[in-house]
């Protein structure tokens, strides 16, 4: 498939590059791993196959051969050859079909998966684009006009189909209530906050500022204060770590976060809510609620079970569909 117009930041991502953080090589990977996996499952891929992560404005693609694709994550009002196409479906495209995105209706990041995956660079055991290192994914950079991505798999024309086909079943992607409530666990330096700042953290909502990207979200409200200014010797930080900055603002570390840091770690967003956070954007408001480890793990397991069920259902439906199409 060919990029006929570049988007603002379209990169190849997978489930992340782990095992290299001791070298300062951060994991990167899809911001919304849940949606990344949903797109892969719809396309009949394994959950960790490389996908294209897009923001708005997103790229315009032309398919140079038939393919089975799927979209998940943010709704950027997609169309093929000008006809609106839905999320949560597998779509069989034919040669010269043009996929584009018209406006950001909901969410921040959308994922495009292609059945069989894409022939892109694997660096240190991951396809994820490491923009700083200039490695992994498509030449270690974001996609540009004229780039051509080779598909690893081939997909036969569906008999008698001259146009793209939306496969009939839809993925049930909802695994919990939709809201902007972010569950967190206390961080090691939480107790350093003044009583007033602790209350502000818990009781008020925070606005995600425009200075938010794949590295982290700057979120603001009333500046928070710590009791003392004792420096924290640099140590590891995690996806979802909420750090207190010197100006009293907060940063929530996201997929391209540094491996280590020295700012106080006030809290950590639970793993099951990373995807929710990844679909929020500048101007959105969030509220933090404390939870505990057992609840965080239960939610994670619930999310994983939902994905597993989805994978089984998709595999079954695809087999059934192809079987019927052949006969």
């Amino acid at each position: 498939m060919k990029i006929i117009k570049a988007g603002i930041l379209d990169t190849i991502q997978d489930a992340g590059r782990y095992g290299q953080q001791h070298l300062g090589i951060n994991p990167t990977g899809a911001m919304d791993r849940y949606s990344m996996q949903v797109a892969n499952m719809l396309a009949g891929n394994s959950a960790g196959e490389a996908v294209i992560e897009m923001h708005f404005p997103a790229a315009v693609f032309m398919f140079t051969q038939p393919a089975l694709i799927a979209l998940s994550g943010a709704d950027l009002n997609p169309s093929i050859n000008g006809e609106p196409v839905p999320h949560g479906h597998a779509i069989a495209v034919v040669k010269n079909d043009v996929l584009q995105f018209h406006k950001p209706l909901k969410g921040a990041r959308t994922y495009l998966a292609v059945r069989g995956g894409m022939a892109v660079d694997k660096w240190m055991n991951s396809y994820s684009t490491h923009l700083k290192a200039g490695a992994g994914g498509y030449k270690g950079r974001s996609l540009r006009k004229e780039d051509e991505i080779i598909m690893k798999g081939s997909f036969p024309y569906l008999p008698g189909k001259k146009n793209f086909t939306i496969l009939p079943w839809q993925a049930d992607t909802k695994w919990e209530e939709e809201n902007n409530e972010i569950l967190v666990l206390p961080g090691n330096e939480w107790e350093r906050l003044t009583t007033e700042s602790k209350e502000n953290f818990i009781l008020s909502s925070f606005v995600i500022t425009q200075q938010s990207d794949r590295m982290g979200y700057r979120v603001n409200n009333i500046p928070l204060h710590s009791i003392d200014q004792e420096e924290v010797v640099s140590s590891a930080v995690n996806f979802g770590t909420i750090q207190l900055l010197p100006d009293g603002g907060l940063i929530i570390l996201m997929a391209d976060h540094q491996t280590t840091g020295g700012y106080p770690r006030l809290a950590h967003v639970i793993s099951a809510h990373h995807s929710k956070l990844a679909q929020l954007k500048g101007g959105d408001k969030i509220r933090f609620y404390f939870t505990d480890q057992p609840a965080a793990e239960e939610l994670w397991i619930k999310q994983q079970q939902h994905l597993l069920q989805l994978q089984n259902a998709c595999t079954f439906r695809l087999e059934e569909y192809f079987h019927a199409a052949r006969h």
Partner: protein, 250 residues
Amino acid sequence: MNAPLPTYRIFPLGDNGLTVDFGNSIDEVTNQLVLGWFENLRQSPLPGMTEVVPAYSSFTVYYDITAARKKTPAGQTGFDHIRAALEQRLAQPFRQEAVVERLMKIPVCYENEFAPDLSYLAAEKKLSAEEVIGIHIQQKYKVYMLGFLPGFSYMGEVDEKIAMPRKPQPQPVDAGGVGIAGRQTGIYPLHSPGGWQIIGRTPVKLFDPNQEEPCLLKAGDKVEFYSISKKVFFEIQNAPSLREGTGRGL
């Protein structure tokens, strides 16, 4: 040798990580212990562990919640399981293997165009630029940890005479920039915003994604800087094969 285990504290780093903290300090003895356990855990990972990340005086174990819960009795969390396994490991006698210490000699050009903050630092410390350079190259530094950027080495400790706080606002730093922050010194492997006081630049590539081992330095290395002219800087920079001779293997 068997070293007695100093007291440590375990705290969660989110729902899929836990940090073993030997105290908020920058010292060689603690760091040696951190690096020892890092090697130990890399060679025999705990069940469910995905990776281990060493820092100055702590290391962090990341784990896969689903995998960690597989062997967990009902009512116990994955965290409980990993924590128990880790405590068990830490209770075993720690053997500090005799490691072959690598000494890496890194050429640095301290001339003005590569050293935007050298004259400021010298003036603040009431030294001449030559004195600052002399102090910076007179000793060996230990690489305590890598972090911040791929291959960024946190080294210490510089002489108090040239110690200098970070800048209030980060500024663009070129790849190879050699900086000072407090009593730490380090090299920016990539062009990046940074807050360290930049006193020189090395032509040696600290990070190269195309190499089998992309980072030139690793935690535990000793580093010695030596001063080179601008002419030599460009000679080294334009001769990629010199990377071996100047950095690796020395």
